[in-house]
């Protein structure tokens, strides 16, 4: 049963990956753009999922970190530097800022990180907007080039989509590894039972901080991909509402589930597109859909699946118990 399930899961995963590679081949430019956007937002949401789902901390600044990454990429690549260098700068910068923000906040009290990040979000937006010499202010930076990867230009929509998808794959693998590493197990231990984790000798504050900083760095990665995707950035998309959107993605997908961000980003990016035929009503319907989903399953989409599987398992277990019991009873 379990082995069977495992094969099924691998087969399903391979099918989804194959579909992500093959199906978009004859998509128009618009479809590819939306899918690329999905991949980028998934990376940002995965970072937040690490902070929220695994370390149990609310960050209201993930959008600001995406902004920092996007500006790093925009400024550096328009100066002729390669995107990979910008990516490195984005990661280091976001990690460091995350650490500096988280350190005092977590020292004071466990859940105050949310408020500090809320303030940081506004501060970051103001810096993006006001420091003209660096960010070109409200006019934004245009003409952001798309990178060459292994000698292939990604100017066309399809190669750039594969570039985003490839980046998503690399981030996913790294995340998969991280969660299974001793660090990742410490993160989970933190979430499940902080007191016990502490008594086991885990430095909870340090691990929480680490999770937040890594999560923020992933926001930076997403930003460094967002800039060449839109090829123009200004400060407005990186205000608080992006942070709130990302938080919504994580919760709606199912926080603490590995695949939660994938589904959450899909809902946030694709659902409004599917609803656009309703014209002026589409955002209203989107809001209602999110509310209904959360009322039905506050643990998100994967929460529904989880509940269903758990029910099946209990049923199977009780059936097994019943069989054993009847055997015992019929036994002479």
């Amino acid at each position: 049963m379990t082995i069977n399930g495992k094969y099924w899961r691998i087969a399903l995963g391979l099918a989804v990956i194959a579909a992500l590679i093959i199906v978009p081949m004859n998509f128009n430019r618009y479809g590819l753009y939306i899918l690329s956007q999905w991949a980028v937002m998934t990376i940002a949401a995965m970072g937040l999922n690490l902070t929220l789902g695994y370390a149990g901390q609310v960050s209201l600044a993930q959008g600001a970190f995406v902004g920092i990454g996007a500006y790093a990429a925009a400024i550096m690549t328009t100066q002729g530097m390669p995107l990979i260098a910008a990516l490195g700068v984005a990661i280091v910068l976001c990690f460091a800022i995350g650490w500096i923000l988280g350190y005092p906040a977590l020292r004071v009290q466990h859940h105050y990180l949310a408020f500090v990040t809320l303030a940081f979000s506004t501060l970051a937006f103001l810096v993006f907007r006001n420091e003209d010499w660096l960010t070109k202010g409200i006019y934004g930076i245009s003409g952001i080039p798309r990178p060459n990867v292994l000698g292939f230009a990604t100017n066309r929509p399809l190669p750039f989509y594969y570039f985003c998808l490839g980046s998503l794959a690399i981030v996913s693998l790294a995340m998969w590894w991280l969660i299974r590493s001793p660090w990742g197990r410490a993160f989970v231990a933190l979430r499940e039972n902080p007191v016990r984790a502490l008594s086991l000798g885990i430095d909870t504050r340090r691990y929480t901080l680490m999770a937040f900083a890594i999560g923020s760095a992933l926001g930076g990665v997403a930003g460094a991909l967002y800039a060449p995707l839109t090829q123009y950035i200004d400060p407005v998309p990186f205000n608080l509402s992006l942070s709130l959107d990302l938080l919504m993605m994580v919760i709606v997908g199912g926080s603490g589930f590995f695949f939660g961000p994938f589904l959450g980003a899909m809902i946030a990016v694709l659902l409004p597109e599917w609803l656009r035929f309703t014209q002026g009503y589409y955002l209203m319907l989107y809001a209602i859909a999110v509310m209904l989903l959360l009322i039905y399953s506050p643990t998100g989409i994967l929460g529904i699946l989880d509940r269903y599987l758990a029910e099946r398992r209990t049923k199977a277990a009780s059936a097994l118990r019943a069989v054993t019991k009847s055997r015992l009873e019929t036994a002479p």
Partner: protein, 378 residues
């Protein structure tokens, strides 16, 4: 005989196809700020477009074909605007309409140019038409044409030597502020205070007290309607009596309605206004109010004009030809006498910039009074 029959059939099919093409609607695509921070801009623009299309279709359309428009929401976000424009272009529209925010125009105009489709937009930032894009057209004065007129008036008529500049910190306000500051430098006018404000700001006490402290000869106000009304009230409360000068928004009917008698004495240059002393504009305003139950701002006019620009250009070509559209509109003069929908005579230059008459107005006892008509240049 047989071949004759086939030739006849072929001819019939071809002419049927031609007749069908004749009757098929002309597809237009609009991408605008229907939600988010620019929703007022985008919805006015959209309503103007819908009104013009309704009128044109009621009179039989353009060259006998109806106009059909799809509206897409950019959520006031350049990234979304880009996606929606991409989607619109994938459907091969005749002409692309919008967006209204200059940032969104900047990110979408290369796409339209690449597809070879003309884009008629609402952005006013100076730089938009200066990059050599052959497919981009304005519906209103760019800041590079309106601000020099304002600066000239402040220098010649107000004789001001120092001016406080209040602007809203978005691409519209910042753009205007940057252009007018440059113009002031030409006249050796000093910027006594340079005050950035936030969109949606409610409390202007601090800004006005800074203006008072700077003691300028005049104040230049470049804000959206609601904020204009609030700062006018605050200027009155703190008894600032120097001349107040603005561009389009400051002296709009909406501001007068919201600010009451605090608006008296405010002056401004106006390119497009529903208060223009032009009969066709007054008629437009009545039609708009009748359909939508509110008085549009200049964005409503821009959307309306965009459609009549398309009609006039297409009539001129005598055919619906997406590729030749931009070439035809460059250098075209549209006279209101021939095409009443264009409201005022207008000429488009090679960059897609606009030449049209403008007005210098002052609010006197709650009414816009035109002090000076600035004629069309050519």
């Amino acid at each position: 005989m047989k071949s004759g029959f086939f030739a006849g059939l072929l001819l019939a099919t071809v002419s049927a196809a031609a007749a069908f093409a004749q009757g098929a609607p002309i597809k237009l695509a609009d991408v605008a700020e229907l939600s988010g921070g620019g929703a007022t801009v985008g919805n006015n623009w959209k309503n103007g477009i819908d009104l013009a299309i309704e009128e044109i279709n009621a009179k039989g359309g353009v060259l006998g074909r109806k106009l059909e428009v799809t509206h897409a929401d950019s959520q006031s976000n350049p990234g979304v605007a880009r996606a929606q424009v991409q989607k619109a272009l994938d459907n091969e529209p005749y002409v692309l309409l919008g967006p209204g925010y200059s940032g969104s125009v900047k990110v979408t105009s290369p796409l339209a140019a690449e597809a070879g489709i003309a884009q008629i937009m609402g952005g006013e930032a100076a730089e938009l038409t200066q990059g050599g894009n052959k497919f981009l057209f304005r519906t209103s004065f760019g800041q590079q044409s309106s601000m020099p007129k304002v600066a000239k008036y402040i220098n010649d008529e107000l004789k001001a030597k120092s001016v406080a500049v209040v602007w809203v910190n978005n691409d519209f306000g910042k753009g205007g502020r940057d252009v007018i500051t440059k113009e002031f430098a030409k006249y050796n006018i000093k910027v006594a205070a340079d005050l950035s404000t936030e969109a949606g700001q409610a409390d202007f006490a601090a800004d006005v007290s800074k203006i008072k402290a700077a003691a300028p000869d005049a104040v230049f106000i470049y804000l959206n309607e609601e904020e204009s009304a609030r700062i006018l009230k605050e200027l009155k409360r703190q008894a600032v009596t120097v001349p107040l000068m603005g561009e389009t928004t400051l002296v709009g009917q909406k501001v007068v309605e919201l600010a009451g008698d605090a608006a008296n004495g405010a002056r401004g240059h106006v390119g497009l206004t529903t208060d223009a002393p032009v009969d066709l504009v007054k008629a437009f305003r009545e039609k708009f109010v009748k359909k939508y139950n509110y008085v549009p701002d200049h964005n409503g006019l821009k959307g309306y004009l965009a459609i009549y620009m398309i009609k006039a250009t297409t009539d001129k070509m005598g055919k619906v030809d997406s590729k030749a559209f931009a070439d035809t509109l460059h250098g075209l003069t549209i006279k209101a006498a021939n095409e009443p929908g264009i409201l005022m005579d207008v000429t488009f230059d090679e960059k897609g910039d606009i030449d049209r008459q403008g007005f210098l107005v002052e609010i006197v006892e709650g009414k816009q009074v035109v002090k000076q008509v600035l004629p069309k240049l050519n």
